[in-house]
């Protein structure tokens, strides 16, 4: 505990300068591109691409740390091709979560987080990365400062989505084959529960107060709401009559809205975060997976994998205000706080 407090203090000291310098500018939007193996950087004020950063491998999960000068991207070695033969999957020396320095646009650190990293979460204090290892059936925790692996957690089969609760109490890891969500207690570093959810759970997101978790099920075509205290499923909401193939999910910073990216129906479902009622359905580009919201809650961005672009939604009007050309097969989105 003492060590953690120290690390938080250090992170604040180190990150403080960069944070102050960036306070005047609009947040930057970072989009990982799976096939073109790079990250597209968009200025959210102009909705123009301001940089493209190569990462040297298949880029999927993407997160901004507590220190907004660092963007983390899960990079792996093999590239899939739709509809053609592929060689066997093998663990590659490229497999890592890489840290990009936003100012210099260079990779400044590589974190070994086990094989084939796809998604990961960062603790709110920025000290730990939790990553899922698809073929190992595990999640790996890494110390951001030292780069050391702190722990390996046995989760379900084909783990995918990772989310850390804002109160830093829980880490949820979704597993696609076992239709499960493993609950890691961040205080004790143990898996304390496994929840059986709908088919092929992909992504989890917490409400800002950490009381609710929202989990998308791609094949089940639904959004599951979990009470994080009792770990009971409150509701499972069909999306687009069960045909939406929802993947990305994000909760607005004020905790009132849940936005879900539907990969099959090419739209975003907007739910009331408390009544779970559908408020709007917003058409976006083709196969939206990644989704993120600006810190002020005004704009939502989706990464559209089959139209190779990014949709920017004005949350006040529920309309797409810009469609920005991305790299090849955009996968995830992260926005600096």
């Amino acid at each position: 505990m003492r060590e953690r407090s120290y690390l938080v203090a250090a992170a604040v000291l180190l990150g403080g300068g960069a944070h102050a310098a960036r306070a005047q500018s609009a947040p930057l939007v970072f989009v990982s591109n799976e096939l073109s193996k790079n990250v597209t950087v968009i200025d959210s004020r102009t909705n123009r691409v301001v940089a493209t950063i190569p990462v040297g491998g298949r880029a999927r999960g993407i997160q901004v740390g507590r220190d907004p000068s660092r963007v983390y991207v899960a990079v792996s070695g093999e590239t899939p091709h739709i509809g053609v033969n592929t060689a066997m999957k093998t663990t590659s020396s490229i497999d890592a979560v890489v840290a990009i320095d936003v100012a210099s646009r260079k990779i400044v650190r590589r974190y070994r987080v086990g094989s084939d990293p796809e998604q990961f979460g960062i603790t709110p204090d920025g000290t730990r990365i939790y990553a899922s290892n698809e073929d190992g059936g595990t999640a790996t925790a890494v110390d951001v400062r030292t780069g050391r692996q702190i722990g390996t957690f046995v989760v379900g089969i084909e783990p995918e989505g990772v989310a850390v609760s804002p109160d830093r109490r829980w880490v949820y890891v979704t597993s696609e084959t076992s239709n499960s969500v493993s609950v890691i207690d961040e205080h004790t570093d143990k898996v304390v529960d496994n929840l059986l959810v709908d088919l092929r759970p992909r992504v989890a997101a917490f409400s800002p107060d950490s009381k609710r978790a929202f989990i998308t099920a791609e094949v089940g075509g639904s959004l599951t709401v979990v009470d994080t205290k009792t770990r009971q499923i409150i509701k499972t909401i069909p999306i687009e009559r069960g045909e939406g193939k929802p993947v990305g999910v994000v909760v607005s910073p004020d905790g009132t809205r849940v936005y879900v990216a539907n990969g099959h129906t090419n739209n975003v479902s907007v739910f009331d975060a408390r009544s779970y009622k559908l408020l709007a359905t917003i058409p976006v580009g083709k196969r939206p997976w990644g989704i993120a919201i600006t810190p002020d809650g005004r704009y939502v961005y989706t990464a559209n994998g089959l139209s190779n672009d990014i949709s920017a939604i004005d949350t006040a009007t529920g309309r797409v205000i810009a469609t920005i050309k991305g790299g090849q097969r955009p996968w995830g989105v992260a926005i600096a706080r």
Binding site: H81, I82, K89, G137, V192, L196, V219, G242, E243, T265
Partner: protein
């Protein structure tokens, strides 16, 4: 005499209760026990029998892994149609041709357990000879024919060359198929054939049904399979479910082109969705025998 609990002690006890709560919750449920009888084929059918053994082995390992999360046990027993009633089974797997599949379906019905057909495409098994105890995860001949017809129609009458429809292929990559295929290949050193996929999927649906029904009894699994909301993830992108009228699994099929040397290359998936509006069930029901045309009338 009063018993005073200090605040610290109260908090300590509370945290103990919280810590064991999930364990208690799992233990309160009756344990799920799934027992699957596997009937080996004869020597004439060595290849599909071998593929089935591999698919079952992988399915059972995954179910055991899930059982370590949720409790329960799963086991397989090598048996024969005649011995099936003596093993208190949930279901039988086996059969490589219409005659053996039909015999096992009847044996399962007599024993009051389920039969999951992983290899026989015969329309009669789902038609005139259908059996309420039998569930068909492998597509019927009618489904394979319909998928080919749709593929040829979409080529606007041009000669399609040598096309073949399959339930699964080791080269599939979409919807997580690359992961499943890689998992199979890394374990067995060979590609996942349709027979292997069927066997793996049979174990998966039996285990998942038992887990969600909280019982591995044949009756509980059958009741779960009959629910309108029941569906499964077969790594085919769409939710898969059984048709109530003949217990055939709805599923997309894959059109492959066959080279002169017999090698298959992926060409297309059928049926093709023309909009995001179609329901998966309606779309997949374009393949095979519709309810209105089905000669299957399950014996009461």
């Amino acid at each position: 005499m009063t018993f005073v609990l200090t605040r610290r002690e109260f908090v300590r006890r509370l945290s103990l209760v919280t810590a064991v709560a999930p364990l208690v919750r799992h233990r309160m449920r009756a344990p799920v026990v799934v027992r699957i009888g596997v009937v080996p084929g004869d020597n004439r059918n060595a290849a599909p029998t071998h593929a089935r053994q591999q698919g079952v082995a992988m399915g059972v390992d995954e179910a055991k892994r899930a059982a370590s999360l949720f409790g329960g046990t799963i086991e397989t027993i090598v048996t024969t149609a005649a011995d099936a009633p003596s093993h208190r089974l949930s279901a039988l797997l086996g059969g490589n041709d219409a005659a053996s599949c039909s015999a096992l379906a009847n044996a399962a019905a007599a024993a009051g357990i389920l039969y999951v057909n992983t290899a026989c495409t015969s329309d009669a098994l789902r038609g005139a000879e259908c059996n309420r105890s039998a569930y068909h995860v492998i597509p019927s001949d009618a489904m394979l024919r319909d998928a080919l017809a749709l593929a040829r129609a979409s080529e606007h009458g041009t000669a399609g060359g040598s096309l073949v429809a399959v339930a699964w292929d080791p080269s599939l990559v979409r919807f997580g198929a690359d992961t499943l295929n890689a998992r199979f290949r890394s374990r067995f050193g060979t590609g996942m054939s349709p027979d292997a996929w069927g066997a793996w999927f049979a174990v998966k649906i039996l285990w998942e049904s038992a887990l969600r029904a909280r019982s591995g009894s044949a009756a509980a699994i059958a009741e779960f399979l009959a629910r309108d909301t029941t569906q499964f993830d077969g790594y085919k992108g769409r939710p898969l479910s059984f048709r109530a009228w003949n217990h055939q699994l709805r599923q997309p099929l894959y059109i492959m082109t066959r080279a002169a040397n017999g090698a298959l290359t992926y060409a297309a998936e059928q049926p093709v969705a023309h909009s995001g509006e179609e329901s998966s069930r309606a779309l997949l029901d374009q393949l095979g025998t519709a309810a209105a045309d089905s000669p299957c009338h399950f014996a009461k």
